[in-house]
């Protein structure tokens, strides 16, 4: 599903440039649930943003679902993001003046789905994350866990190939984190490929594979026995 070969990325800071990714090689198959770990500043977000086409690598090759992602203009990138990728952010990034249902429907709007279908799908995905009752509420009326679940519903709404989540539980307490992970595991069980950036070992252990980054290189890449989150959730 994802093939990454020798990706480099650096940020220019005035005169000097800071090398953040120094040759990343990574293959992720369909249906995997991968945790990307590493200390702060090791380049996790940078890698995820490149995989999400929110940012561009300097050198290297990135193939997503058989499509070489290279020299994309913004319009092309927008189409690919819309078709292939769903994002979940640490800070939720919901649009604050839109209701839960409207937020979830937004990627479908950019897919030019008609209005009725959009509403139906949005509601279906909200029900899937257990927030059917909350469809008409604004983000400001919801808890962090609820907001993150709306964000997950939104990421799923456009039926992407890959779900990318940058510290999805970073702003949540342990209990809520496990609820969110439970949801992510369920989605993964249905076959969706998911990448999660996280700091927390317990969250990482709920994935099927852990990739550790240090100073812009992968230092470890292991398959793990998945801990099911459901057992911690009543």
């Amino acid at each position: 599903m994802i093939e990454v070969k020798d990706i480099h990325k650096s940020y220019k800071m005035g005169q000097n440039s800071l090398k953040v990714l120094k040759g990343i090689n990574l293959n992720i198959n369909e249906g995997e649930l991968v945790a990307i770990m590493g200390s702060s500043g090791s380049g996790k977000s940078t890698l995820l943003n490149i995989l999400g086409m929110l940012d561009e690598a300097e050198t290297g090759e990135y193939i997503l679902d058989g499509v070489l992602i290279k020299n994309l203009n913004e319009t092309k990138a927008a189409h690919y993001r819309n078709k292939f990728l769903g994002f979940v952010f640490q800070s939720f990034n919901l649009i604050n003046y839109k209701t839960a249902a409207e937020n979830v429907a937004l990627p479908l709007y950019y897919q030019k789905t008609n209005r009725k279908e959009r509403q139906e799908k949005a509601l279906a995905y909200l029900q899937k994350v257990g927030l059917g009752e909350w469809a008409g509420h604004l983000p400001s009326e919801m808890s962090g866990g609820q907001k993150q679940r709306v964000a997950i519903a939104r990421a799923l709404a456009a039926a992407p190939k890959v779900l990318l989540a940058d510290e999805p539980t970073g702003a949540l307490d342990t209990k809520t984190s496990y609820e969110v992970m439970d949801l992510i595991q369920q989605i993964n069980d249905e076959g969706k490929t998911i990448l999660i950036v996280t700091h927390e070992e317990d969250i990482a252990n709920m994935c099927k594979r852990i990739v550790r980054l240090k100073d812009g290189v992968i230092i470890e890449d292991v398959k793990v026995e998945q801990v099911r989150a459901a057992q911690y959730v009543q």
Partner: protein
């Protein structure tokens, strides 16, 4: 443009972001409103000016008399010049080829009475040609004619406001009014664009006035309507010849600048038209200035709006919004708001102008107005420039990498 989904999206952002909508709408409405008011007041100023100077015929030479300031041919200085009926005859004889008409004038203020109503009015004793000089329009009846002056008839043509004062709504034709002790028959009612003062007077035959003044043949002044085809230079030449002729006839020193005064409307007209066009230019500049201010205002607000939305735009892009759709959304929203607000400002301005009406006449602003075309033109200009002003930040926002936009707090 007519995509229902897009409109729904826009209505939602507009209604959910009231402050933003209000700010940009208010700027545009205010800009247009001020434009309309200033432009209208400017037009009012122009109207006043035109009613002062441009409501009489423009082919006129007025001749007034005064006192000499130089001794000449045995006469002392400070001699009062008198005009008499033979001056009319002489002018007609010598200058007939330049002239359409000539009318003498003798003005008095006297009490005019009808039944129990009376008031003081200006009574102007004139010849028939005066009708053309003052551009008098008859509402009822007729003006003084040659027979009336010939026969020294006690006939009068009264101003609209005199009729209103003395007769109310009833027709005065055939009624008799008391003018300084003599009974005059009303034969006409006139209107004059020159303002209230010119409608608060009555006209009588000059010969009748002379009869009342112990059968004198003296006159106060003349007005001559020269043939328009002689043109500006012809009029100036005519004026000069007339001056020489009258000075010679009344034995006034050729260099004496007093004694006889001539006001040539052709000459005034040229200056007045220049002044009117200067006024027009000022009005136009004020209008353009306001529009510019409005455009700058809306540009600033668009920059602010886009800045405020940076993060939202980043989210939308992460969800698959193309740069095009981002630009289209911002522009369509801004055009929609400016259009609505622009027309609100336009009609508010027109409403205020209309309600002002005559209240500002004391400040030389008469009938302020703006023609629809100018108003709509200004509004459209503001909308177009608002859109251009919105396009630049919108395009920049559309180009920002989503990752940068998402980081924006």
């Amino acid at each position: 443009m007519f995509n229902r989904d897009r409109w729904q999206e826009i209505f939602q952002t507009i209604s959910k972001n009231k402050l933003r909508t209000f700010l940009s709408g208010f700027t545009v409405a205010l800009g247009i409103f001020i434009f309309v008011i200033l432009f209208g007041l400017g037009n009012g100023l122009k109207n006043t000016f035109e009613s002062f100077f441009l409501n009489d015929a423009t082919n006129l030479i007025w001749v007034y008399r005064g006192r000499t300031s130089m001794p000449y041919k045995g006469f002392k200085s400070n001699r009062q010049i008198e005009f008499k009926n033979d001056d009319i005859a002489d002018i007609k004889y010598n200058f007939g080829m330049y002239m359409d008409y000539i009318s003498p004038g003798i003005n008095r203020n006297q009490k005019i009475k009808y039944k129990n109503e009376y008031n003081n009015y200006s009574i102007q004793a004139i010849a028939p040609g005066y009708q053309f000089a003052e551009k008098v329009y008859l509402m009822e009846g007729r003006f003084i004619n040659e027979d009336d002056t010939q026969n020294q008839e006690k006939y009068t043509v009264i101003g609209r406001l005199v009729r209103d004062d003395l007769f109310g709504k009833k027709s005065p034709l055939g009624e008799y009014v008391d003018v300084g002790g003599s009974m005059f028959k009303v034969i006409g009612v006139f209107q004059d664009d020159g303002g209230d003062n010119e409608e608060r007077r009555i006209y009588i035959p000059y010969t009748t006035r002379q009869l009342m003044d112990k059968n004198t043949d003296k006159l106060d002044q003349f007005v001559i309507g020269f043939k328009p085809e002689i043109g500006y230079t012809g009029a100036m030449m005519f004026e000069e010849k007339l001056r020489q002729f009258l000075k010679d006839k009344h034995q006034i020193h050729p260099d004496d600048r007093r004694g006889i005064f001539i006001r040539n409307v052709a000459d005034n007209l040229q200056q007045n038209q220049q002044f009117a066009s200067v006024l027009q230019i000022i009005v136009t500049f004020v209008g353009l200035g306001t529009l510019m201010a409005g455009i700058i205002g809306i540009s600033n607000i668009m920059v602010f709006v886009v800045k405020e939305r940076t993060k939202e735009l980043g989210i939308r892009k992460a969800l698959g919004a193309t740069p095009r759709s981002v630009i289209a959304m911002i522009l369509q929203e801004s055009i929609f708001i400016t259009t609505i607000a622009g027309y609100i400002g336009l009609f508010a301005g027109i409403l205020i102008l209309n309600s002002l009406g005559v209240t500002l006449e004391d400040y030389f602003i008469k009938n302020p107005y703006i023609d629809m075309q100018t108003g709509i033109f200004a509004t459209v200009i503001l909308i177009i420039f608002g859109a251009i002003a919105g396009y630049i930040p919108a395009r920049r926002a559309a180009r920002i990498k989503p990752i940068v936009a998402l980081r924006d707090e």
